[in-house]
């Protein structure tokens, strides 16, 4: 059954081709059917393959399916080949399931949009590329998927292209991630030069044999791959594109900019974890980047007014957690958080989509409020998603994954108390901004009337995702609560568990306790300041009157002014150079050649007088000159 693997990425690609070729001839209903059934089919195959893999694991716990040789140039022979192991199974199951739910949701969400068919075509292309990315057996195929998802991200952010601001946001996302992609490309060149192959498994094996820990080549290649991951996963310093990427339709934000594409960087690092283990400095950098990003984005999320921007910053922050986990060698914790994050963050985005649609494209949370009564299902699912994001203890999936990360950051030999403290502070911020969003949107009296209630196609995905956000964590129960590490055991064959130091017994339980308490305190804090009522609003305004508080607020609101920074130090100087050198001085050479040949042309055309006598004269003079030359020589 495992040889059905190729169908998984092919099916969405097929859907994309069908939708593109048939285009406007399709009715919206057929287009929606093709678009979502192709992903649904892919999901069913993924589940069949995954089930078979788990029930009867193939030898070596991995399965490679070579379809054909892509290129054959000298020693460079990348195949179109898919590689299946526990990690890629994990990824394809989450990706196909979440994609399918979001496609179903979009069928109704995008109903009145002119670009309905285009939307599904792009979404299918995206899912196909994403599956290629995670199933790729070699880095070149992975890179193909990597660029494919980048392209779809660009196309879908700028989906409503009539507004130039959306086009700018799309371009910004594309250009900023390109910086990371360039680094990734150089990394691939480096790896190929050294190992003569791009197959991931072979690189891992050869690197272990040939490179000592901390060798210069290992550090360089890991750092270059990290550059790519940072760009794609919107981590410091390339995080600026993600908040603007919210210009796209909400299902796009849910699928691409929360659940799947932005976690491609996490996948890349987990996939090439051998290289990172060989480069401890880079691995430390991963952890530090993660810790810094999760704090920075957490602070920014607290100040946002646009509901989708809160979620965007929250995504950056949660991916920061994943990076933190990767940085301390807790590979499976990172993948676990990827999974739970995919569930609850896409749930939150879809819930926000219902709200935005209901309020006629209103994004400002301060203008919302009192939606609890009008959108009950959305409210309850949103509440579950928020609880999971804030890691409410015991019942939510987010608790298990975040707890696993924090515990391993504390106990791992590569972790430290500072990294843990950052994660701990991040947990506090997370519950503040999450419940601030929830309270501002749903609490209080009805201030705005909902014009469109979600139908079953929109609520069913919400309910399923809410269920997953609750029970998704039970596949990995920490030691303190009984200890059923099914998830880690499953990934064991691919990702070696982090080396944990010996700590005092009971520490894990204590840490869990204080983390739970801090997130509850965060909720109480949000409750005191952000409930939708005159009393709470007054309390907020009082703080804002303080000029320092206001300045800090603005600073955080603009995402720590990173845009301004890059604008001043990168964009403007570049534009200035381009402006000054508009008449490119190198062009002078070419312009000189043109002038010279034009001058020669006028001289020569003067000799073509058309007078026979002049020609005769020319012949005579020429003959004399040549005879003269012959005589002299």
């Amino acid at each position: 059954m495992l040889d059905l693997l190729w169908l998984i990425p092919l099916s969405p690609f097929f859907g994309f081709i069908l939708l593109t070729l048939l285009g406007q001839r399709l009715t919206n209903k057929t287009a929606a059917f093709i678009g979502s059934s192709s992903v649904g089919f892919s999901m069913s195959v993924a589940f069949i393959v995954g089930f078979n893999f788990i029930v009867s694991p193939p030898p070596g716990n991995s399965y490679t399916q070579v379809l054909w040789t892509w290129i054959h140039v000298g020693g460079f022979v990348p195949d179109i080949a898919f590689y299946l192991d526990a990690l890629s199974i994990m990824m394809i199951l989450v990706i196909t399931a979440v994609s399918f739910l979001i496609h179903i949701y979009s069928v109704e969400f995008m109903r009145d949009d002119d670009g309905y068919i285009r939307f599904f075509a792009y979404m299918n292309l995206f899912v196909g590329s994403m599956l290629t990315l995670v199933l790729a057996d070699n880095l070149l195929l992975l890179y193909l998927g990597w660029e494919g998802v980048g392209l779809c991200s660009y196309l879908l952010i700028g989906f409503w292209y009539r507004d130039p601001a959306n086009g700018r946001a799309a371009m910004k996302a594309f250009v900023v991630t390109r910086i990371g992609d360039a680094s990734l490309t150089v990394g691939l060149f480096l790896l190929f030069t050294v190992f003569d192959t791009l197959r991931i498994q072979e690189i891992s094996r050869l690197a272990l044999q040939q490179w000592p820990v901390g060798s210069a080549l290992a550090v360089a290649s890991a750092a270059l791959l990290l550059g790519g991951a940072v760009g794609k996963s919107a981590q410091l310093p390339l995080q600026t594109w993600l908040p603007d990427a919210m210009a796209g339709p909400t299902p796009v934000s849910a699928l691409i900019h929360a659940a799947t594409m932005v976690t491609a960087g996490v996948y890349l690092i987990a996939r090439t974890n051998v290289l990172f283990t060989l480069a401890p400095q880079v691995q430390l950098a991963v952890a530090v980047i993660g810790a810094a990003t999760l704090l920075l984005a957490g602070f920014s999320a607290v100040t946002q007014r646009d509901i989708k921007r809160v979620l965007a910053y929250s995504t950056i922050s949660q991916i920061g957690y994943m990076f933190l986990a990767l940085g301390v060698g807790a590979w499976s914790a990172a993948i676990f958080h990827f999974m739970t994050h995919a569930f609850f963050k896409s749930l939150l985005f879809l819930g926000a989509g219902v709200v935005i649609l209901g309020l006629n494209q209103e994004h400002d949370m301060l203008k919302m409020g009192g939606l609890r009564k009008q959108l009950p299902i959305t409210f309850w699912t949103f509440l579950i998603g928020s609880a999971s994001l804030s890691a409410l203890p015991l019942v939510t999936a987010g608790f298990y994954s975040k707890d696993m990360i924090l515990w391993q950051v504390w106990a791992s030999d590569k972790g430290s108390i500072w990294l843990w403290a950052a994660g701990f502070a991040g947990a506090f911020l997370t519950s503040i901004y999450t419940f601030r969003m929830l309270f501002l949107t749903f609490s209080g009296d009805t201030t705005s009337q909902v014009s469109r209630k979600p139908g079953p196609l929109m609520t069913i995905p919400l309910v399923i995702l809410a269920a997953l956000s609750l029970v998704g964590g039970f596949i990995e129960i920490p030691d303190t609560l009984g200890g059923k590490p099914i998830f880690t055991t499953f990934l064991h064959s691919v990702l070696t568990p982090a080396t944990l130091l010996q700590v005092k017994p009971g520490t894990e339980g204590n840490l869990q306790f204080i983390t739970s308490v801090i997130s509850l305190i965060g909720i109480i804090f949000a409750y005191r300041y952000f409930l939708h009522s005159p009393q709470h609003t007054g309390r907020r305004e009082k703080i804002m009157q303080n000029p320092i508080a206001f300045a800090v607020h603005c600073f955080l609101f603009r995402g720590w002014n990173f845009d301004l920074l890059y604008d001043t130090f990168a964009v403007r100087p570049f534009l200035w150079i381009a402006q000054t050198n508009k008449n490119d001085f190198i062009d002078l050479i070419y312009r000189g050649i043109a002038l010279l040949s034009r001058a020669l042309n006028s001289v020569l055309s003067f000799t073509q007088s058309g007078k026979v006598r002049w020609y005769a004269m020319g012949i005579a003079i020429g003959a004399i000159v040549f005879i003269g030359i012959v005589e002299i020589l």
Partner: protein, 102 residues
Amino acid sequence: MNVLSMEHGLIIAGILFSLGLVGVVVRRNVIFVLLSLEIMLNATGLAFVVAGSRWGQPDGQIIFIFILTMAAAEVSVGLALVLQFYRRFKMLDTDAARKMRG
């Protein structure tokens, strides 16, 4: 009998050739251009004959016969062209045919 020396013969041939060339370049009337061309041809023939007699070889005179034949052919073609020229331009001025000017 005073045999004409080769140098004198060649000088006469050179003078004739130069006169012919000047005629070709200076005269605008096609007929005169043709006449001048004939003079140049005969100057060349004279040079051949003088050179042949200097070496006591018949080759120079044989070449002159060839030149005569060629000149006859050239004149017939040339006169035909002159007729066509006159028909088209209603005059015999070579400068009238300047259509090929660059």
